[in-house]
Symmetry: C2
Subunit: 215 residues, 2 copies
Amino acid sequence: MITSEELKHKLNPIFEKGLVDEIQEFAKVIEVKEGEVVLDYGKNITFMPLVLSGTLRVMRKDEEDKEILLYYLSNNESCAMAYACCMEAKKSEVRMVAEDNAEIIKLPHQKLDSWLHKYPSWKTYVFTSFTHRFNELLKSLDSLAFHKLDQRLIKYLQNKSKILGKSSLPLSHNQIAEELGTSRVVISRLLKQLENDKKIVLYRNEIKLLSTFDI
Amino acid sequence: MITSEELKHKLNPIFEKGLVDEIQEFAKVIEVKEGEVVLDYGKNITFMPLVLSGTLRVMRKDEEDKEILLYYLSNNESCAMAYACCMEAKKSEVRMVAEDNAEIIKLPHQKLDSWLHKYPSWKTYVFTSFTHRFNELLKSLDSLAFHKLDQRLIKYLQNKSKILGKSSLPLSHNQIAEELGTSRVVISRLLKQLENDKKIVLYRNEIKLLSTFDI
DNA sequence: GCGAAACGGTAACAAGAGTTACATATGGCC
DNA sequence: GGCCATATGTAACTCTTGTTACCGTTTCGC
């Protein structure tokens, strides 16, 4: 668990001192394990999560109850959707799941509004958070609209590699298929092509990206 | 051009009196003609547009300079992306074009921040605006990810019809193809099917939706 | 060790969508 | 009228993706 000193050190670059103090006073740091659900559909939102370490996956159900991946949250990031829900004291429209073991701060929703008035850094943080999420969504949109599945798969692998910080990814073909919204067979086919092109090596439940894997 | 009284009447339900007064004092109402560019890529943003009547189309260039439609803005709506840009005094990342003749208020960006502190209704407006845009994007994402082109075409036509307020749409097959990111031939093919199914009637530069056009 | 479940490889086929090519129709303009 | 750009209809073909089916392999629980 992160110490009080480490926390201060981590937040100082983003927020002004007064806000860091308030966070230390009112917010609670928690640890979540891989796969743990941090926030679920329909639950009341009592806090806004800010990710200290690890990664959260944010998902949402569409009109026909299919689940789509919105984005990942990692180092110092936070969920704009959750914020919007907080402000209107609504139920959650998203589900957040720990992608790996993670530490998050729960910022109490009662404070958020007053911080908006008191701390310019908080205001900036919230708005840039919104724009970042917006841009992420636009990237996904673009990817779906203009890129073929093989391109999307490559970007997906690159992204995973970046998030996990390794070139050896613990993934089954099935998982990938679900996240990209297609079927296992298709993914196997494309992965096999990438392997033939000497861009990756396939093992069971593991994909190793080779150094040539960059275009 | 909208009168001062009409403006007040239109804004009163959304904003508190003080804000309506300030808007009347500092904001400028302008009329734009169909096809006119209200805001373009790379321009400095000096105002945030709020649509009084008519419709604006908001677009954005992706990494490879392809243009994608983000959403439409109409009655009392406003562009969250523009707001985010305003706050950070950045150049515009979007282009806004009048879909038909429209009236918009230009809210001066110097005021936006102080309004955030002074008027709760403005804060609510901005945040719900963000969530609405977010939801719009998610709908597009969903549409692209899970719906076939014929479904998307139908939704597109329904949406157009709603925006224009008529069932007779002045559209060429080419225009539709561009907005849906496909080719003319494909759209012609699908439209012909819809005509065979007695859901629409095709004319030159015009598509008439029949009453059976609802599923 | 045994059986079930999960994982991955592969083939064959179907459907959707994009592409090319060409014909025809319409309307504006000289 | 004749020319030309734009709009639309249609056919034939390819490519990508999804689907189904069946295989052997690995892993896990018992």
